[in-house]
Every structure is written in structure tokens, then in C-alpha cells.
Amino acid sequence: MIDKRVPTLAEAVAGVKDGSTVLIGGFGNSGVPVELVHALLELGAGDLTIVTNNAGSGETDIAALIRERRVSRIVCSYPRSAGSVWFEKFWRAGEIELELVPQGTLSERMRAAGAGLGGFFTPAGADSPLADGKEVRVIDGRRHVFEKPLPADVALIKADRADRWGNIVYHSAARNFGPVMATAAALTVVQVREFVELGALDPEAIVTPGIFVDRVVEVSA
């Protein structure tokens, strides 16, 4: 029988190792798997590469991971925000490496990893210094830059509901990076507001099918 439900946040993140690449969902404060990130903090894994859109804000979740020196490298599109104090402090001190990626390319690189593709050419960034050192090719008269897949060891995602097969639906704009991150990681962990019975989710409306999900954990709002 397939049952991807785990009872605790600790079990949800169990086994994440030092040096892992971890995808963390969310855009601003929408869709961030705060409780899973705190469980990762508790677990103690360090030397992490974090792939996420923003570099944390305030004192919780991603900012806390950075503050506690668990993050050696961050791959993101927009690290700056009102409260990105810890990231900025470590970045200025040269203690955290930043790989800046245009947001569409960030998402597409994860998709390529999940889709088993070897890379793609995109016009985004091809005219900018972000293309430095990368292969640039003119296709149909337009400059394109070659971008590689971005696979990961772990994805931490927040969603709304899940069944025991790991089928997932999200809530409004909290969906954001969840579906693509689920495809790109060897271990995909999803926190949801609610477990539902198998068959309760509309098969026309399942956003992330269980094949992409390894563990689901319920976190009451």
C-alpha cells in the first residue's frame, strides 16, 4: 500500500544531509513552508545550497537558516527585501555565496531537471552580465543563453491538501514554485493544511500528482 503521510515534521525532513541542495518554495511570504524549514533547522544539517526565490526576511525560516550558518550558497532571483538583514550581512562578509538567476530561468532550470532535459536556450539574460561565462547562441536573430538543469536533493513545499498517494492541491498564489520544485528533487516533502481521503481530490484538478511527492505532513494553520 502506498502511504506517503508521515506523522511529524521531524520525520518529514529526516535524512537530509550536510551539503545538500534544498529547494524551498514560496514567493515573499506566500507559500513558504515555514514549519518544514524550522524542522530542517532543528535537524541541524549544514553547508546547504538553498534554491529559493527570495533570501529570507526577518528572523524566521530561511533567514533563520542563514543566521544559524547552515547555508553556504544560495541560488535565487531576488535576495533583497525589506527584511533580508541576515542574508545581506553574510553576503557582505563573503560568508555566503550568491548565484543570481533570472526568475523565469530559475523556474525553468528546475523544470528541465524534473523533465529529464539536458538544458535549454533562453533569451532572458542573454544581453546581461548574467550570461558571462555561459554559451550564447543567436537563434532566429536573437541572442539566447544556454542554461543547465538545476536538480536538487530535497524540496520543501507548502500546499493545501494531500491524500495518501501524495497528490497535492495548493491554495491561490501560494502555489508558485511548489509544482516545479516537486519535480526536481530526489526527495520531495510537502506540508499541507489537511489530509484527505484517497479519491477526495478531483482528478481534473490535482496540481502535483503523487508521483512527484515522497512525504506529506499535516501542519494545522
Binding site: S30, G104, H171
Partner: protein, 220 residues
Amino acid sequence: MKLAPIEMARRVALDIPDGSYVNLGIGLPTLVADVVPADREIVYHSENGILGMGPAPEPGTGDPALINAGKQPVTLLPGGAYMNHTDAFVMMRGGHIDITVLGAFQVSERGDLANWATDEATMPPAVGGAMDLAVGARRVLVMTSHTTKDGRPKLLPACTYPLTAAGVVDRIYTDLAVLDVTDSGFLVRELVPGVSADELQDRTAAELTFAPDLVALTPV
């Protein structure tokens, strides 16, 4: 005399046809949604996976997860849809957005856009979705003050800041003028009353051409 931000937004709004799919950049451009004529049905897109975005909710109401690209609370209109980030960028990069309105640090006379990084190195760089929008939207409109706060020109023969994308800007709306990017450089279409052609040229590093049918850019 120069236009206030809301007056600039009203001018931009006039150029957004009924039925357009529009992405408004963070900052000044977001004002445009508030002043589009009421008889036009516009579908607003947000890079974080919203199509058919509505205005901010009444204070104290609304869905905390439902935010726009600038992380401000918004609503969803009837007919709106949610999608994942990858699909939101298919819309942007794939030429499905009719119009984007973006801010700018610099625009060159060839339509090069620099709006993500300056030459200072004290703040970490950040790019967001600007590059995907700039290369992908069918029409790229720039909305910006004509010069920097300390009076330096933003419209240049060539950008000195790192590019967002080359040759993408179609039209620029400043607090002084409306300019098209043409094969022969900046063409001034509209000019605020009280500013002379010479004065505008003085505040512009690139050479300007003035349209024969130059129109007064009167605040509405």
C-alpha cells in the same frame, strides 16, 4: 512643470487597449491599474502565478497568500486563474503578455533597458522577473522620471549600467515627455507644456528628434 506620478500613470493607461493582457512592474507602474478607464477590461498578470488580478482587498479582509509581484495583497477577479511559477513565465517569456510597463534606471536610444542593477556594489544584486518580461512581452513600455533624483539623464546613447535586455523598449513615459524608440533613436511624441524642446534635450543625453505632430502632454 512636470507630471506627478499619478498623471504619468493616467497617460500610460490611455495606451492600454481594452482586452489587453498586462504585467505591471513593481513601483511606479503599479499605479496604472488604478487609473485605466473603467470601460476597458484588462487582464493583469503577476509573475507569481496570477492571471486576472484585481485591486487590493479591503483592509482586514483578503487572502494572505494572494499577493502580487511586489508582495502587496491583491484579489482575483471572476475569470481569473492561478498557475505555477513556470507557467506564469511561459506567459511572460513566450510572447503572451500584450503589454508590460516597467521602471528603468536607464534606456538607450536603441531601446536597451537597464532596470535591475546599478554600478554600486554595496547591496547584493537582485533581478527577479525583469529580464523575462523585457524579452518576452509584445510591447515594452517604460515609465520613469526623465532624470535621476540628482538630475542626471536616464535616456542615453548607450546604457552604462548592466542591461536587462537589448533593443526591447517601445515607448517611454517620463514626467516631461512621451518618446518612442525608433530606428533613428528617440522620437519625442508629446511634451509637457512649459518645457521647451531645448530644455528637454538638455535633460537627455541622447539626441532627440521631435515629431512633426508633437502633442502637448497635458495632465489629465
